[in-house]
């Protein structure tokens, strides 16, 4: 195990050698383009003869389509095509895990915003005007909008009352899909089924629907190919799973559907599902012209899946000394109209939903339901975000009941190396949960709020609105810990493909790395370069554009790309290096084992041989393609939820300090502090960047971010009404990064991106609870929750 190191934030960049190798603060290869405004985002793509595509969407959350008349739209001058589901040549439904979502509406629409028809025209305004002329005759049905009701579960406070939910399901239209309204039910059973404990706390919790709110809306450009196929340039997270679904809808083989990653303006899970991908291809193939589709912000809210809203009931039992005896949990996730990745989100929420604590007796039921709300799927933290609000609130409630310090209670029950998880898996890499918390406690606290004449309004809840000079303001401090699986779980064949070439160009050794792994802002392209520089001893590393000309890299999600694509790039570099050194062996007459690559040369440490790569390679290029897998995981037992389901866990902890104006219900987050174990920081600066960004998104869910859905209709599809943290909402941070190597992972690294998004929000909630004494069972917290008005 390596010694943990700390990365002091704000330290000057140390770039070891030109470009930067493993462990250096290497700078992004796309950074200069991005600061110059020269980086081509998907929305910037342009061809002179292109058409613009727009989508007509259902205004109703649930309705039967009696008829669609596209005639008036086709009559608009400048319109080249109007398409409906009749024009989808292949499978008319698609989906990440279950093919249940229509490419274009079939006979029934199941959510507000479901695509019904497409228009291509020579100007976007023409296309929009034409789409508005399409006549759709809807038979509007009453939507099913409550996940528990959709499953026939009475609400918890109705258990002994009249079961309203049963009435809901008695309607024929209340069955949204032929196989019913249940997407997945995960059971986790461990230990004594009827446990008892000295101290028991029960709580019910609710988490609202969060939006990824990436700044660059969905966009893509489809170009018809001379071979009858299509090239699609699109901002996405997983090119090959897009390709599979597009091929299915177009009834075309993969060689005719070629995807290239266009510049991605953020993702956070919201680009894992298809948006305009098939639509743009259909229009391009139908018209024979390039077709661009770009959503505006309002359409973006309807154009991608969101984070599942959750309702949860937890019961924790512990001994008088504070040892957890059991946890029972019921978790309901609202998947909305189509499955998307709901089965996997249920898997995560069910298996990670008790937090990083040792619990001998477990009884968890986690459900994913279909409703007529917007479809929900992947978002950073993926099932762990929702449950963390519940399990950490429970730990605080238990600590209060026991009269214990909440951090001590957590440390007492914290997982560590060798612990057994609720799903019976032994934690076989470092799990420094208690250390993460203790390091937070040891950090200095920010100064107490100023009073009297020293008050700076900018630091007050309400800010320069001048709502308080400190009257009614109370400070609170809260802690929370994240627990998240890294990479794909439950037996998924999780792999990435890397093609690496080494050659001499103009006298300089150059490596080229080609993967399909999506750069979505996280900095994977930098990591790919750092690995190639380190493994091949060269400075110049070209990152090939991301496309489907190389094998799948899997998704840029689940905190997995540095692990899995990083592992693939490392393995491909090793294969190239082996061949180069084998060649060199004959030239220098030494065993290959004594040779290494460094500084563009073949070097022997024993003999001091330094042979330029130009002499070894000449005009040849050495290229290797490697498909790399992490160790396999297994499906969970369907009855007990036990099994080796996860390859790695990520842990982070947050301390939040808040000031609450208890009269107005306004919250000012004063400081966020975070500790995270990352195994090995491949790029410390980028690791810290992930922690900072994830923290902000967690803070947003805690106090401001929610898609408000009423009767299946989104009330706030704009950045005017859906608020994300500004620079004034997001306070300064203290960050410590630990590096306890995971012996099973490349370089010992641990996935980084999601954990800080998980622990941040619950820490803010804990701090607000401490400041106010209120139980606060729902997020985001609104002013009225704090004032009781």
């Amino acid at each position: 195990m390596s010694t943990p190191t700390r990365t002091p934030a704000g330290a000057p960049s140390s770039v070891g050698g030109p470009g930067g190798r493993i462990g250096d603060d290497a700078q992004r290869p796309d950074g200069v383009l991005k600061v110059r405004g020269e980086f081509a985002y998907a929305s910037d793509l342009w061809m002179d003869d292109m058409l613009w595509g727009v989508t007509l969407r259902s205004p109703h959350p649930y309705a039967r389509i009696r008829s669609v008349d596209v005639g008036p739209a086709l009559a608009v001058p400048g319109v080249h095509a109007v398409l409906t589901s009749d024009d989808v040549p292949g499978e008319k439904v698609y989906g990440l895990e279950l093919a249940d979502q229509p490419v274009l509406a079939l006979d029934v629409v199941r959510y507000q915003g479901e695509p019904v028809a497409l228009v291509a025209a020579d100007h976007p305004d023409t296309a929009r005007r034409a789409a508005a002329r399409i006549v759709v005759d809807y038979d509007v049905w009453e939507p099913v909008t409550d996940a528990r009701a959709a499953l026939g579960h009475p609400t918890w406070n109705q258990v002994h009352d009249a079961p309203a939910a049963v009435t809901e399901l008695s309607r024929e239209s209340a069955h949204l899909h032929p196989h019913g309204n249940l997407v997945r039910h995960l059971k986790v059973r461990k230990g004594d089924p009827e446990p008892t404990a000295d101290v028991v706390v029960v709580g019910e919790y609710e988490v609202g629907m969060q939006d990824q709110a990436f700044l660059g809306p969905e966009s893509g450009l489809a170009v018809p190919g001379e071979d009858g196929g299509v090239d699609l340039y699109v901002a996405t997270q997983w090119l090959h799973v897009d390709q599979r679904q597009i091929c299915s809808a177009l009834a075309m083989p993969p060689e005719k559907v070629r995807l290239t990653l266009a510049g991605v303006g953020g993702a956070f899970g919201g680009r894992e599902d298809l948006s305009m991908h098939v639509h743009a291809c259909l229009l391009a193939l139908h018209t024979g012209k390039p077709v661009k589709m770009s959503y505006n912000r309002e359409e973006s809210f309807f154009g991608h899946v969101h984070r599942h809203p959750a309702t949860m009931r937890y019961e924790h039992g512990a001994t008088r000394d504070g040892d957890l005896v059991y946890v029972k949990a019921e978790i309901f996730l609202d998947g909305g109209a189509y499955a998307s990745s709901t089965p996997a989100v249920v898997g995560n929420a069910g298996t990670m939903g008790l937090g990083p604590y040792v619990v001998p007796n477990v009884h968890v039921d986690c459900y994913g339901a279909y409703t007529n709300n917007p479809p929900c799927g992947a978002m950073r933290g993926f099932g762990s975000v929702q449950t963390a609000f519940a399990y950490e609130a429970q730990m605080d409630a238990l600590a209060a009941e026991l009269g214990m310090d909440p951090v001590e209670l957590r440390c007492r029950n914290a997982m560590e190396l060798g612990s057994e998880t609720p799903t019976g898996q032994v934690v076989d890499s470092p799990a420094p949960v208690a250390e993460l918390l203790r390091r937070l406690v040891a950090m200095p606290l920010p100064p107490e709020p100023a009073t009297g004449d020293d008050v700076d309004l900018r630091h007050m809840p309400g800010g320069v609105s001048n709502t308080t000079h400190g009257e009614g303001v109370r400070r609170g401090v809260g802690y929370a810990v994240a627990y998240k699986n890294v990479a794909f779980s439950e037996g998924f064949d999780d792999y990435s493909t890397a093609r690496v070439r080494l050659e001499v160009v103009g006298g300089e050794a150059v490596a080229t790395v080609h993967t399909a792994a999506a750069e979505v802002g996280q900095g994977l392209v930098t990591v790919e370069q750092q690995i190639a520089r380190t493994e091949l001893g060269v400075d110049a590393v070209v990152v090939h554009p991301k496309d489907t000309a190389v094998g799948s890299a899997g998704s840029s999600s689940a905190s997995r790309q540095t692990y899995v694509t990083g592992g693939a790039v490392k393995a491909a570099c090793e294969a190239v290096r082996g061949r180069v050194l084998e060649r060199a062996r004959g030239l220098v007459g030494r065993p290959a084992g004594d040779l290494r690559l460094d500084g563009g040369k073949v070097v022997s440490d024993l003999e001091g041989v330094a042979l330029p790569l130009a002499d070894v390679l000449g005009d040849d290029a050495v290229e290797e393609t490697v498909e790399w897998r992490h160790r396999p995981t297994q499906a969970l037992d369907p009855d007990t939820g036990q099994g080796f389901a996860h390859v790695q866990y990520a842990f982070s902890a947050h301390r939040a300090v808040v000031d609450v104006d208890t009269e107005l219900g306004l919250v000012k987050v004063v400081e966020m502090a975070c500790t995270q174990d990352v195994g090995k920081a491949i790029n410390p600066q980028a690791v810290v960047g992930q922690i900072q960004g994830g923290t902000a998104q967690g803070l947003g869910l805690a106090v401001m971010e929610e898609i408000l859905v009423r009767d299946g209709r989104v009330q706030n599809p704009s950045f005017t009404d859906y608020l994300i943290p500004t620079v004034l909402d997001m306070p300064p941070m203290r960050i410590e990064v630990l590096e306890y190597a995971d012996p099973h992972a490349p370089y010992g690294l641990r996935g980084v991106g999601e954990a800080p998004n998980i622990s941040s929000g619950p820490a803010v909630l804990a701090a607000i609870r401490q400041a106010t004494g209120l139980p606060l069972r729902r997020v985001p917290v609104r002013p009225e929750h704090l004032t009781g008005t």
């Binding site: 704000g10 950074g31 600061v35 700044l215 998104q697 620079v727 300064p732």
Partner: protein
Amino acid sequence: MTRVSMRVDGVTYTDEVEPRTLLVHHLREALGKVGTVVGCDTSNCGACTVHLDGQAVKSCTVLAVQADGAEVTTIEGIGSTDALHPVQKAFHEQHGLQCGFCTPGMIMASIDLLKENPSPSEDEVREGIEGNLCRCTGYQNIVRAVQQAAREMSGTSETLGAQS
């Protein structure tokens, strides 16, 4: 249609535009200045910030006809071919961007801020860019980048109050 003439990044363009055309759409679609991006359509995110006669404006709140006769500077018009503007350089070096979509607007807002206040405190940096949203960075490195740029532009190298 209305004839408008404006100098954009040092080049004068004269075009016929519909009076309702927003400046950002004119820049992107008529002039090909796609370095300036559209994030929200509602003037909340600031990704489309440009300088109009030297002042930062959200170009989705300005009509193209309002910029008639004006000097417009976009992200593509700062710095030079050989060298980055100090604010651009600082955003790159301080990892003040991830996806980069907010970056053009952030940089243009920051330049305007530093023109008004060449050595802002951390609080003043935060006030100065509160109209620009970033979803990736949590703003920490953006604040740091603006402070680095302020030091470089004022020729000082002393460390400002670290926000650790």
